[in-house]
């Protein structure tokens, strides 16, 4: 292993190890918060595939998170525990299909249009769950009994147990991270990066770019579905607000906080967002003002994008280039 690969893998392994031992040192509140952070990390990773790798700015990614959460609550039987073995694949299949359908239409547009169209489709999904009777309207739905994974009469995983759920979420995060790392190294990932750099040239080089973008969109939707599934199981409750456009804005914010273009940026961004949100919502620090937490959040977004457009992971590079000014390329 050469030096740069080592310097890359070491922090990752250290972060992984920290997450593994965290339940033994953190209190109940912090374990819960860490589960939320990891779920949001998966969600942000799924969008990173679109925004960071392919250069497609989707403002409707919450739709797939929400569709998966609703599918989980709707498919799970009321009176018995569902088996993860069929529930998770079914949820992911539904979400991926929905993403393929929305992607097929949205990808007919580009640039500003694409941003607006994805936002509009997410809003459409919001209204489907908000207005339709089967989804419980604005009250939402409950998932009373959490899914289990059983082999015969032996229960392998019971998601009702907090510690089990913690490690399942951690495992999902590692799997999604690993999958996306593999995608980046594969021919498919190189093609997506080429589309981001110059779609025209990719087409001239003989790539039909539309199917590549559609595959990326469907895969990103499916991976957001993993996060949506975990979210529904964690809280045992879904309502239309999880598809609201604020969610789509929030996940984009995580990416830009962490730094676009790297996988670790997405996860770090999710972590930073949760920290910022807890900080601004803290009544101990802000007293009564804490209920206006979106004001400092809004100002932080503006400040972060203005001052460190490459996010926190891009900050060292940005500071270095400040010290030794080099002519800007492109």
């Amino acid at each position: 292993m050469n030096k740069s690969a080592l310097s890359h893998a070491l922090p990752l392994a250290a972060a992984g190890a920290l997450l593994v031992v965290f339940p033994f040192v953190g209190g109940k509140f912090y374990i819960d918060l860490m589960v939320t952070t990891m779920i949001l990390g998966i969600f942000a990773l799924s969008l990173e595939l679109l925004v960071g790798l392919t250069g497609l700015v989707s403002f409707g990614h919450a739709a797939f998170f929400g569709i998966a959460a609703y599918a989980t609550a709707l498919l799970a039987p009321q009176a018995a525990a569902a088996s993860i073995a069929w529930l998770l694949p079914a949820v992911l299949a539904i979400t991926t299909l929905a993403a393929a359908a929305i992607g097929a239409l949205s990808l007919r547009t580009r640039g500003i249009y694409f941003i607006m169209v994805t936002l509009a489709f997410a809003q459409m999904a919001y209204f489907v769950f908000h207005d339709m009777k089967f989804a419980g309207g604005s009250d939402g739905l409950y998932l009373n009994i959490k899914p289990v994974l059983a082999l015969g009469s032996v229960t392998l995983l019971d998601l009702d147990r907090p510690l089990t759920f913690y490690y399942v979420t951690f495992g999902a995060l590692v799997l999604v991270y690993g999958l996306l790392a593999a995608v980046r190294r594969a021919r498919f990932g190189h093609a997506l990066a080429g589309i981001k750099a110059n779609e025209q040239r990719m087409r001239a080089a003989g790539f039909s770019t539309y199917p590549y973008k559609l595959a990326a969109f469907a895969l990103a939707g499916g991976l957001a579905g993993v996060a949506g599934f975990l979210y529904a199981v964690k809280d045992g409750f879904v309502n239309p607000e999880i598809l609201a456009w604020h969610q789509s804005g929030t996940v984009l914010l995580m990416l830009i906080l962490g730094g676009i273009g790297t996988l670790r940026g997405a996860v770090i961004g999710a972590f930073l967002f949760v920290v910022l949100k807890e900080l601004f919502q803290s009544e101990a620090l802000f007293g009564n003002f804490a209920r206006h937490w979106q004001l400092p959040l809004g100002l932080t977004i503006i400040g972060c994008v203005a001052l460190m457009p490459n996010g926190i992971t891009g900050l060292p590079t940005q500071l270095r280039s400040l010290r030794t000014p080099v002519p800007h390329a492109g």
Binding site: V51, V57, F59, L105, S106, R108, T109, G111, I112, Y113, I115, M116, V117, L119, A120, F121, Q123, M124, F127, V128, H130, D131, M132, K133, W245, G249, L252, L253, I256, I260, H292, Q294, L295, L297, G298, L299, T300, I301, I302, V305, A306, P309
Partner: protein, 293 residues
């Protein structure tokens, strides 16, 4: 559906569509000419509605005239506000990527919403229309229609005509049309593009604020009212084509008709019909109906 009901729904569709046009025309011009995706545009509509709520009693007590004085003050304030916002904030967005524009204007929405919550609170408020517009007209034997809604539609038509006259007949309108089809070319032909940007942005803000103010007596004033209008305005811009004011007009009326009649004929799916319309247009013409440039 008998004739009177049909007529009332037509009037409602027209009124909703025209109101949307005031918001969407500013949005489409800001996209088309400044090249900025402005998520905070819905907030201007919200600010307008709250201005109507806050200014009308103040104007009645101090200046006289109530609603219309408030309207005039609101328009002047909004032009100044738009001018200042372009100078202090939006002008820093021109060189940035769409994603950064999206996030910075999204941050702006959060700031505006919380400031609104701090200054005015989170309650729903009604705004009374001026007394002489408060009545209804008789339509057929049983139906009545509020005069204020007719007045709204008439005012929107006047504003649309004025907008058309400015864009089609004046020198600055010529620069706006040229700017929507080719920004760089206009700049190189010696038009002061920074002034043009500032004027267009201020006009867009004023249109949205004005729409919010005149809508306040009908829709009442409530938190989050800007977001809904924003997303529907996006749909209008996508259908009409970026930068095209004519497209915005046609698309607004189309959305008004689909939404209004959808709510009457198939109430279960009313929320999503407009988006289905957008999807259909995307299949047919991905660039919108009247794309310029």
């Amino acid at each position: 559906m008998d004739l009177a009901v049909f007529l009332v729904q037509c009037l409602n569709a027209l009124q909703y569509g025209l109101l949307l046009f005031l918001v969407a025309s500013g949005l489409t011009l800001i996209f088309g000419i400044l090249g900025v995706i402005n998520l905070a545009h819905g907030s201007f509509y919200m600010i307008g509605a709250y201005l109507a709520y806050a200014l009308a009693p103040w104007a009645a007590a101090n200046v006289g005239g109530g609603f219309f004085t408030a309207l005039a003050i609101g328009v002047v304030l909004s032009i100044a506000f738009g001018y200042a916002l372009e100078w202090g904030f939006v002008s820093y967005l021109y060189q940035r990527e769409h994603l950064q524009q999206v996030l910075m204007t999204y941050g702006l929405i959060l700031v505006f919403e919380e400031l609104r919550s701090i200054l005015v609170g989170d309650d729903v408020h009604g705004v009374a229309p001026p007394a002489w517009l408060a009545g209804s007209v008789q339509l057929g034997d049983v139906m009545t229609y509020p005069v204020y809604r007719l007045f709204m539609s008439a005012v929107c038509v006047l504003v649309a005509l004025a907008l058309y006259a400015v864009i089609a007949r004046t020198r600055i309108g010529m620069a706006i049309r040229a700017g929507a089809s080719n920004r760089e070319m206009v700049q190189s032909l010696g038009v002061d593009i920074r002034l043009l940007y500032r004027v267009v942005f201020a006009a867009g803000v004023a249109l949205a604020v004005f729409a919010g103010m005149i809508a306040a007596p009908v829709s009442s004033v409530y938190p989050g009212m800007g977001n809904q209008v924003l997303i529907i305005s996006f749909v209008v811009v996508v259908i009409g084509g970026i930068g095209s004011v004519r497209g915005a007009l046609v698309a607004s009326l189309l959305v008004g008709v689909v939404d209004t009649f959808g709510k009457v004929l198939i109430p279960q799916t009313a929320g999503i019909l407009v988006y289905v319309l957008m999807a259909a247009i995307l299949l047919w013409r991905p660039e919108g109906l009247f794309r310029t440039g």
